[in-house]
């Protein structure tokens, strides 16, 4: 079993930062960029707990969000799904937020000689775009597969195309190939690639199921509800292949897909 072991502690802090800008991509997707003069050492794969400083009792809990960027202008990509993200989608520049981070682990190093294949679903693009942007200065250009229900569910696909060789799918065929993003994957899986994925659990379960028999390393960035983000609430268990649970906040969010029991595609909580 894995209970988060808390020694040594990550240097996490809670800061209050003003929203610098909100860039909306339709009603559902927004990039929130914050002003943090002293900077945040947030690396690709890590996440932050975000809560409006003036929210009062509702929404009560901060929301876990992958960093889209770090430094003095840290940003997150949000999809409106509930009360917290609705509030965030209406936020105006100057509005104060509590940002707690950096939290969790980073994407692992890409193995020498392997080409990364990124598989993104919807808002799951955020940590993968951050990863691709961090690889670009090293001359690494990943292949990216990006899927959504329709063209409206592919936020930041243009930015992704700048740093990746991008292939897009939509379930309604409104952009790219019609169908699911996983249908493009089998042809790419060889001994020369590694897969990094973030998106709905069902998508990541399908990606993991394609990688395992071909012995391709697959790292999944998990998204689950959580109350704290640092191993205390124990609200973010993920079924471990060997039994027991991993915790998305402390063992992840980036976890080798082979160590997860994906079950019926609901390992990390069921909400696909």
């Amino acid at each position: 079993m894995s209970h988060p072991d808390l020694t040594p502690l990550a240097p996490r802090r809670q800061i209050t930062a003003n929203l610098a800008r909100r860039d909306s991509m339709g009603p559902a997707y927004h990039v929130l960029t914050f002003d943090v003069p002293e900077g945040v050492d947030a690396r690709p794969g890590q996440f932050t707990m975000v809560r409006g400083a003036e929210w009062g009792d509702a929404p009560l809990l901060p929301r876990p969000m992958s960093y889209l960027s770090g430094g003095r202008r840290p940003s997150i990509l949000i999809k409106v799904v509930g009360d917290g993200t609705t509030r965030m989608a209406r936020a105006v520049p100057g509005e104060p937020f509590h940002l707690l981070g950096p939290l969790g682990n980073t994407w692992p190093e890409v193995t020498e000689g392997k080409r990364p294949v990124l598989v993104a679903g919807g808002v799951g693009v955020a940590p993968l775009l951050y990863l691709a942007r961090s690889l670009a200065p090293h001359g690494v250009r990943p292949i990216a597969l990006y899927g959504g229900r329709s063209e409206r569910d592919l936020p930041m696909h243009e930015e992704l195309a700048e740093v990746c060789d991008l292939h897009v799918t939509t379930e309604d065929g409104s952009r790219g190939e019609r169908g699911r993003v996983t249908q493009l994957l089998p042809d790419l899986l060889s001994g020369d690639v590694e897969v990094f994925t973030c998106g709905p659990d069902r998508m990541m379960a399908a990606v993991a199921a394609l990688c395992a028999p071909r012995e391709v390393r697959c790292i999944a960035s998990l998204e689950t509800p959580m109350a704290c983000g640092y191993g205390v609430c124990l609200g973010c268990p993920v079924k471990r292949a060997e039994g027991g649970y991993l915790y998305a906040c402390m063992d992840g969010p980036c976890i080798d897909a082979a160590s997860i029991d994906w079950g019926d595609g609901a390992a990390a909580g069921g909400a696909a």
Partner: protein, 305 residues
Amino acid sequence: MNQEVTLGGLTLKNPVLTASGTFGYGLEYDSFFDVAELGGICTKGLSLAPRHGNPPERICETPAGMLNAIGLANVGVEYFCEHKLPTLRERGVTVVANIFASSVEDFVKITERLERSPGVAAIELNVSCPNVSQGGIEFGRDPALCAQVTAACKAVTQLPIWVKMSPEAGDIVAVAKACEEAGADAVTAINTIRGMSIDPSTGRVRLANRTGGLSGPALRPIALRIVWDLVGALRIPVIGIGGVFSAEDALQFLLAGASAVQVGTASFSDPTAASKVRQGIAAYCAAHQLTVSELIGRGRPDSRR
């Protein structure tokens, strides 16, 4: 002004503790503030053997609160004593070990293990967890069972024994009195109240355990009423808990007669919440020229001092 409070034989440097299950084993909050500044911390509920806990989903947010059904996932009392307690002791943290078992015998075994571990200030018996199939809330509903557990644990330790009350006990005053008569040094009130949430978009119950314990500000008025009743009925101290998010919230419990408060879910909203509550109480005392012990029960018409 003096912030010390005395709970039976135990003196705390101030009346602010953190609640079990919301503060890990204490050091998780080390990077946010000096945990030793608090009156004390209550550990995650410790069982005899480590526990995996319940399957996901385990938590969901509700209006001014949250539901949890963690299922007492914990490292076990042995691991805690070996690997967590020594560091807490070095840091000067006042540690209240919250313990859980499904039998009186196991409560006793855990108490015995803690008794021979330097660094534990008190033991809090969780006889009121709503999220486990055995040994949780049914203990907390039954005055005779609660008394039996309390007496059995008291018999094997010199440490103060606190009993954490379930708000779902039919007659909570009767349960608390039974604990008092069995030798409890204090009671903690209240644990969570069971609730549910269903997602209309999927038609499914949100928590895998179906029900979960409700915590947060939504609980506060109920907790305050129960604390008020218990203070009126008991001779031993009452520790107030339920939706304490600010110093103003904590003051309500102290004015009602609670000798200390526990900050719980607030630590998830803001990891520095307990520290802010402590500072706010100190500021209130300074402004009103009162010590904390003068403050306790000052809201009761029968005990204006």
